[in-house]
Symmetry: C2
Subunit: 326 residues, 2 copies
């Protein structure tokens, strides 16, 4: 039952303010994986943490920081929303292995090794050539395993992802993406990656970002849920699947441009959009706010999942994965 | 009894390596306030934390990090040495109020508002004019109170110190200095400061740095202990007194020069030394290593303190002060 499950969204990057926090609470969301940085370096990441500390101080009647799964249980019991942080790139550690532990202590629980392009650690999914995991990357994977920071390969290239799954001594996650069999997109994942991920007990979160969905902004709730059903069938697995909506509400176009171009490019890159379609995609009608997670839950049951499976996909699976790997 | 007391040194800045950690353990030191930075900014401070995390990883049979007094109790029970961190300047927070909490989470338990010169927060004891506590300083004091980071005014100017004692809602410390009545030195503290500090339940740690002692490098153990006895008598207080040795072993001259000049000066400043006496002072014969803390303990009893008072001054007082204010 939705009300009794841990409802966990495995990726959001919405404009943080009280109305956002209220919408999470009203939507019955137990916890959210919030992207705290995309391209910020170590020093800039401290400012992001400072900003969030202020949110926790000012809105402690609604949100609490998650440093371990115990805090998610507290959130559930007190009807608050737990926030746990991830970085979509490895920029917070600069070029220093020791900053993995420093950032973990600050509350960075998840980190992508790459964001679309080449990083110091591995290749992103937009690169023509895939370096695989670099020397520094191997060290960082081992250090992330040691300190309990979860590896996320949502935006990484194929070989880099497969190598990371093999090198990492702990299961990794792909917090927000979809299977390539449903939609061919650079960001989506091949059957090989999906199988390797799940066989190593890794976790897959399905994305609701229109560019990664069948029929884009016209994707129906049923099409979305059928994609999950087919994936579960293909993999013979439900317990390692969840949602990572990639919801980005209230962000101006300048943020999207910065996400796509950071500070590295003089040319405009449009990511999965194009020059004629440069803006944020329109939101899905059935998933236009965090509170619409209940629609996904109902859709899962309608398309054939049991209530227990729907409970697990809507968040209990995320909870158990975090419990094992943080 | 020395063996049963918490033996706590309220300030050291020795070259960190295994032999130093062993000397602390062999000397029966329960915990040490280690200076992690002098002039490092926020980003540089992260590297210092990363270096110490590595020490904790590599030497976890001897040292443990102290995030709360509970860790000091663990250190005592397991015969390890607890390390708790302080900054001798406010450089780790740059100009950002939010970095107080960020640094506290990283393990910075104590911070001086100034180091000899003017800072963004207050004046140091080497300044001709004393600004008192600045606008930013007032905000930082309040924030340090909120997050449980202890204010240290060891290197601060008189008015700045008196104002801080008044503004702070929690007791502050002067972790390492001596009374001016014993030795006139810019770094030592007037009777006014001592009384104001103790009356507000603040803490005073006596320094063993020769430049702050009666008779400098020739100071006898008895002279040192008599100074403590006279201070206790003057203040009518033993429970807020302890040791902050300022022991700086194994550091090259370049470190002393950096401590004195940071990056702000093109001229050489010699601190409490002089051009003809520019080097580290020779160590005291009876306090040449952390293990010599037992000499101080014996000296305290010889000069008239009860065993119980000596237990308290050698560390139980520090323990209780930290317990109340972290």
């Amino acid at each position: 039952m939705y009300q009794n499950a841990f409802v966990i969204d495995g990726l959001e990057y919405c404009k943080a303010d009280r109305s956002y926090f209220e919408s999470l609470q009203k939507g019955g969301i137990t916890a959210v994986h919030v992207t705290i940085v995309y391209h910020e370096n170590a020093r800039e990441t401290l400012t992001r943490f400072a900003e969030w500390n202020r949110f926790f101080e000012d809105h402690n009647d609604i949100i609490i920081p998650v440093m371990s799964v115990n805090d998610i249980e507290v959130a559930k019991k007190t009807n608050k929303v737990g926030i746990f942080f991830g970085a979509q790139n490895c920029s917070p550690i600069d070029d220093e292995i020791g900053l993995v532990e420093v950032m973990r202590k600050q509350g960075l629980l998840i980190m992508q090794l790459t964001y679309n392009n080449q990083s110091l650690l591995a290749s992103g999914c937009y690169e023509k050539n895939d370096s695989g995991v670099t020397n520094f990357g191997k060290q960082v994977i081992s250090e992330m395993n040691r300190v309990g920071m979860i590896i996320d390969m949502s935006h990484s290239a194929e070989k880099s992802t497969l190598e990371t799954i093999e090198i990492s001594k702990k299961p990794i996650c792909i917090s927000h993406a979809n299977p390539s069999f449903a939609v061919q997109a650079l960001r989506n994942k091949s059957n090989d990656v999906l199988k390797s991920l799940i066989n190593s007990n890794g976790f897959f979160g399905f994305s609701l970002y229109p560019f990664h969905l069948p029929n884009n902004i016209n994707c129906s709730l049923d099409e979305f849920c059928q994609m999950i059903y087919k994936t579960a069938d293909l993999l013979g697995n439900v317990e390692n699947l969840g949602i990572g909506s990639d919801l980005c509400l209230g962000q101006p176009l300048s943020i999207l441009e910065w996400m796509r171009n950071g500070k590295w490019s003089k040319k405009m890159n449009y990511g999965e959009g194009s020059k004629d379609n440069a803006c944020w995609p329109d939101p899905l009608k059935w998933f236009a706010s965090p509170a619409d997670m209940i629609n996904v839950y109902k859709g899962l049951i309608k398309c054939g999942f049991s209530e227990s499976d729907a409970d697990n996909i809507i968040g209990n699976n995320w909870f158990r994965f975090l419990q094992k790997n943080l």
